[in-house]
Symmetry: C2
Subunit: 516 residues, 2 copies
């Protein structure tokens, strides 16, 4: 074949070379690179970039100039959602399925076959997919699906995971990003947080002290004073050099451990927060946020330096609401949103999200359409130009790419589901905050909460009551009915699980069954 | 450009497709894949494949059918050499420099800036490159060089490291294979052996017990009963799927932790060795060897299954001589070779080596030419078709590819240097076994040993005295002189280090200075 083409090619050769050189400089790959910058446990208010229409005190406390920069260059989504805790969101991200369908509704334990649900007097432990995501149908207690990184890899993308993984328990395939379609994995493990952010503590890997949370792969940063967030950034920049040098499109899953507990001071930034005389834990937390933001800036700078910024999509997202028991006054950390991580109130599920797609998104724009983590799977594949991939699962998400392409679109209303038939923490005093055994549905401005513990509904109009203070359930029985039916129907369609009462052995009724 | 070529390409399109399909099946890449199957601490006798011209008892004890199979399909090198311990060999492998030049003459501690030399009454601690190999000139106590995996990666190879790394101390770039040109690293760390081979012990990663030797990245095999060797094999097979699927040539550094201590039973094979009533440690060791051999077979089978075996080069090698204090009678484990790991006698440096290059090597042939680990760098680059790469270092090795292409070649004599100005173990009783403060030169059948402790020479004709029993130094002063001059000259040219006496502050004379 080569021989046959040779005479023709020789004729064009000088032109080819010229064209190649030019394109190598200006546009190294025709398909865009995609970076998902995923922060852990970051709340809607944990930034100097306001996502609410009023600037709040925390927006003034924190310094995230690079988020501001990204928003200025891209589009800010003010109604982006995820599930109330980590693994459910991460599994939905990789599979495009809602957690009501994956049955991964709580965080997975690093230990295999270990149900992380807290014990409860009323309900039996739920038989959810306690080992998380797996690509092998033979793995017990897992959801089987085709993760999008695998599809991207098969389509020629160089797929990189850096940082927190937490997709499956140790001893199952999902514990390793390599099994989920990533070609490079640095620092991912089966646990939900790092043992330490400090190089002096070897990120947890101290002889005799290492636990499942000890962060792997970062030996070269031990005792160098490098905060974990910075080490991951340096590794990410190193990792993307390969596809850039090789002129291949890449997908980078830049999944920071920050700003999850343990809250530790990032020395580069903490002093000014100490000086501000705020609560010391909050000062440390602020330094972690600023370190995370610097990571975003450093990556953006590197893209520019390599002249690929114009061909690289950046998506900024968090995996659940801000943890609101960290320091200072409890349950105020996401105000005006109610509650925080673990809750189906807005504070637990509403996320800071930004998308920059050079040439596509409108710089500095704001998009108020509702999107959910389930949408990332079809969106990212559409960005990469992958059409109708062969997948095992049924998708719940839908691509938000049309919203990027035309900023004026108002998307058709569709139900967003938040399903948590599990017990996150054994703290009865905070269950009224939307935590433990809740399901919720969002449809336009209406939001219905269903508390499985007592079969009660709450109804809010989040458009004029974002704080979820005025329960309209009694006033609007028809709306409750409509949403309860839709929630119940959707949950059943997806095969969702409900808790079972220990005393009676009966399953909690689906919400639609209560309003017939 | 695309537009200009389009009409021409369309014309050829159906033919192109046909040719592609055909080639994808028969010859997925034009450049060969290269697998280095590197075993740790494996001696010349640790196999049922005889490298000596007589079958020895240990050849009958061990079962390595896949090494036999590889030798049957390729060429067996019976005079292949490495350095007496691990890191010096591994650094020479990656850089093509002899350890006399790298100043990495002992094993690197996982802890940075920690000299692993044992204390000595006569000599000061040697100021060698105690942190190993680095690609960053700013890293203290390291040798700077361009590792060949980086060159292969830049040339379009997909470069994979699986298993033992041990190229540099924690906190330095060399601790991570990612910094040495590998695009994938699974299970590599800065230590010289695994904490455990057992999945039940999480390969060392038990809470509160993990040390620097705990093997990373294998969470999914915890508590599955998978022996470390098997886990690494499964990971290797998984890792090469990516380049195979993407039709890219790959380099696989399949670097087993086996058969280094801790000696642990591979349950799949150990019973028959227990039943043979041999020493129990030796039985376990035999099971580790057979597990290693199965790995080789499994990889060969997989290449065949994917129909790329005909385009894949396999190089089998060990990194130093067999450890001969493991079980049973000491210092007999490499017989007829004298001594073992740590020694410059043949038992410490002579290695089992096999090369299969389909279409190039002659099946079932034997090559008696001397080759050394320094030669792997230029050989592997030549195999990959890389010409005159830009490198930082001066090479000592020379390509053995001509020996593969023409099996009848008798190579020109050249000096091979083994330089160990360090103290490996604090056991004066075994220093007569060529261990601690020795240099040696091999030139054809002549071998000169230089003991720095007492400035004594030993001379052997290894062609008719492979056991190194008849010291001919007194009988052949001219030969001693010739070799001492050549050894001294070569060491000086390479800037080699010599120990310094504590009492006098004087450096041990180079060997040529003693025969003037």
């Amino acid at each position: 074949m080569k021989k046959m083409l040779l005479p023709v090619l020789i004729f064009f050769f000088p032109v080819c070379l010229l064209a190649q050189n030019k394109s190598a400089k200006q546009k190294p790959v025709s398909r865009p690179n995609i970076i998902l910058f995923l922060v852990d446990d970051m709340g809607w208010m944990d930034t100097s970039l306001p996502f609410y229409d009023t600037i709040m005190p925390l927006n003034k406390r924190y310094h995230t100039p690079n988020m501001e920069r990204l928003a200025k260059e891209g589009v800010k989504f003010t109604s982006a959602y995820a599930q109330p805790v980590c693994t459910p969101t991460r599994v939905s991200l990789l599979t495009g399925m809602n957690s009501s369908r994956t049955h991964v509704t709580n965080w997975t334990s690093p230990t295999k076959n270990n149900n992380s649900d807290a014990r409860d007097d009323q309900f039996e432990p739920l038989n959810w997919n306690i080992n998380g995501l797996s690509t092998d149908p033979a793995t017990e207690h897992t959801v089987n699906a085709t993760p999008f990184p695998k599809i991207l890899k098969d389509a020629g993308y160089y797929t990189i995971h850096i940082g927190k993984a937490h997709w499956g328990s140790m001893g199952t395939p999902g514990s390793s990003p390599y099994n989920l379609g990533f070609m490079v994995d640095i620092a991912g493990h089966a646990a939900g947080h790092p043992q330490s952010y400090l190089s002096e503590q070897h990120y947890g890997n101290m002889p005799g002290k290492a636990q499942a949370q000890a962060v792997p792969d970062l030996e070269e940063y031990y005792d160098t004073g490098t905060f974990l967030t910075e080490a991951l950034t340096l590794e990410a920049i190193k990792a993307i050099q390969t596809p850039i040098d090789r002129n291949e499109p890449f997908y980078l899953n830049m999944a920071h451990y920050a700003v999850h507990e343990p809250i530790m001071p990032d020395k580069r930034f903490v002093q000014k927060y100490y000086d501000a005389k705020i609560d010391s834990t909050e000062a440390k937390y602020a330094s972690m946020l600023e370190g995370m933001d610097k990571s975003l800036g450093d990556i953006m700078d590197y893209l520019k330096k390599r002249d690929i910024d114009k061909n690289t999509i950046i998506i900024f997202m968090s995996d659940n609401g801000g943890f609101d028991l960290r320091g200072g006054k409890p349950n105020t950390h996401n105000t005006p949103l109610k509650a925080g991580k673990g809750s189906v109130y807005e504070g637990g599920i509403r996320e800071p999200m930004i998308v920059k797609w050079p040439g596509i998104t409108k710089a500095g724009s704001i998009n108020k359409n509702q999107v959910i983590i389930d949408d990332f799977f079809p969106s990212i594949l559409e960005m990469a130009g992958v059409k109708q991939p062969k997948i095992l699962q049924k998708l719940d998400g839908q691509s938000f790419v049309p919203l990027l392409k035309k900023s004026s679109i108002v998307a058709t209303e569709r139900p967003l589901i938040f399903h948590y038939p599990n017990k996150w923490v054994n703290k009865p005093a905070i269950e009224h905050l939307g935590i433990n055994y809740y399901s919720a549905i969002l449809l336009g401005h209406w939001k219905l909460l269903y508390h499985m513990r007592n079969c009660q509904f709450e109804l809010y109009n989040i458009n004029n009551d974002i704080r979820e203070e005025n329960n309209l359930a009694d006033k609007n029985p028809e709306e409750v009915k409509r949403l309860a039916v839709l929630l119940g129907k959707t949950l059943k369609e997806r095969g969702a699980q409900m808790p079972v009462e220990s005393s009676s052995g009966k399953q909690v009724p689906f919400p639609d069954e209560l309003v017939k």
